[in-house]
Symmetry: D2
Subunit: 145 residues, 4 copies
């Protein structure tokens, strides 16, 4: 599959029903081994101070990591998360968060991805979280997409 | 503040607007250093196979960890997450997930919490995730509750 | 291979040259899915306050996790660490540290192990670290033991 | 304290007795927020295949992270590790390992550091591990150095 086809496939995966679509996560840019996703603030995504909830920040990081790891795997494989660790570095107090995922190691079954999440407020970005995810390749189910 | 008051306070925090309430997270049981929360499945909380999304599992774990850490801190303190690590052990394919958080170390400013998340399906539970969270005490803002 | 043979094999692995043997790590107890190892204090294992160095604590936790994961795998497989996370909960200021590893999930290729490390001082134990390790099964090289 | 004084202080800390000095860890370069340390291979630092042991890799990463975090803290503060997570990306099969630590967030009490560890073999480097450490500032004991 070409790189462009792969990206189109990631977009179709993004567009499936469920948490990422309901929350409003969307693909901003993608190439093999690098994926950027963003999410606009909504009241139902916040914590008690009105910032993005940590679980939502982790969810966007996880989703970007999964798409990024999938983009580093052979055709027909899909990444599932073995584990993810997120350090929260600053309040996610912007009107949008942007997760930039990058593959740092791609083995035959295990792919490791780092993700920087920025909070965008009045046009300025600040890193608000840093994540490392270990992903495992599974066979994409027949007829999945 | 008495233990019962503390739990009532946690319930008020849970009931604030935002992601936890919108998703439907609710307190099942709580005592100082131990908190159980649950979340029923809804389509907007799932990933592509129809299981709970990893970000939602992480979000429930984080929220339970935060309440648990807060319950281990002195009155007037609120826990915020420094970092959380989640291992996904099995698909969260039940109709409900239950997070059981327990404080494993309570220092003056840092509290460490472990969380086991079970997926409940047709009445049977299976551990689907294990998390460790490092939380920091911050002053509860005046008039917060 | 019987459980007893498996333990004998772990002991032979422990006895190979290298860091674990040089440091003095030794097996205290083992059964499939549970391994306990200990290490006595020596000046060359300490940090600046005279406690066990964090790297040594992590090293013992990692080694116990590896043996534990290997004990949860089929014959002929050896565990290698994909990632380990260690929370340091109290100074490792005893004369001995003891790592108790337990498998919390054993899949076909991935095994997840938790490890509690206690510091023993004047006969009393205190938990000083908590670790989670994700291990991968590799084929044991021919003639390895 | 000037930057140069700070580096000299780090070198004195490095030179204290204990695991880092005994193992042979040494400072290669340092500036506020960036520290590089290296360690040459010795039989007593290896695992069963003759590569650097995971605990030793973690130990060097932890030590570099500690020095780096200390360099990002005010005078009179010393970094101690709250938690460290290490992903092992490739065998540490070189004759030397080099840890490059960089502060990614410096708060008033918490400093977060990332560390890339390279394995150097026949002059060529390959990343063999990636670590994230969360460090806490403690007061440097009087007369410590």
């Amino acid at each position: 599959m070409s790189g462009a086809d792969r990206i189109a496939q990631l977009e179709r995966i993004m567009d499936l029903l469920g948490f990422p679509k309901s929350a409003g996560m969307h693909l901003v840019a993608a190439e093999p081994g690098k994926v950027t996703m963003a999410l606009a603030k909504r009241l139902d995504l916040t914590q008690f101070f009105g910032h993005f909830h940590g679980g939502v920040v982790a969810g966007l990081a996880d989703h970007a990591a999964g798409a990024c790891a999938t983009s580093s795997m052979p055709d027909g494989k899909l990444a599932v998360t073995i584990e993810i660790k997120v350090n929260f570095l600053a309040p996610a107090d912007g009107e949008e968060i942007i997760a930039r995922a990058e593959t740092i190691q791609a083995g035959s079954t295990i792919v490791v991805v780092k993700v920087e999440v920025a909070s965008k407020k009045a046009g300025a970005e600040r890193t608000c979280a840093f994540a490392i995810a270990t992903m495992r390749a599974m066979d994409m189910p027949a007829g999945f997409l």
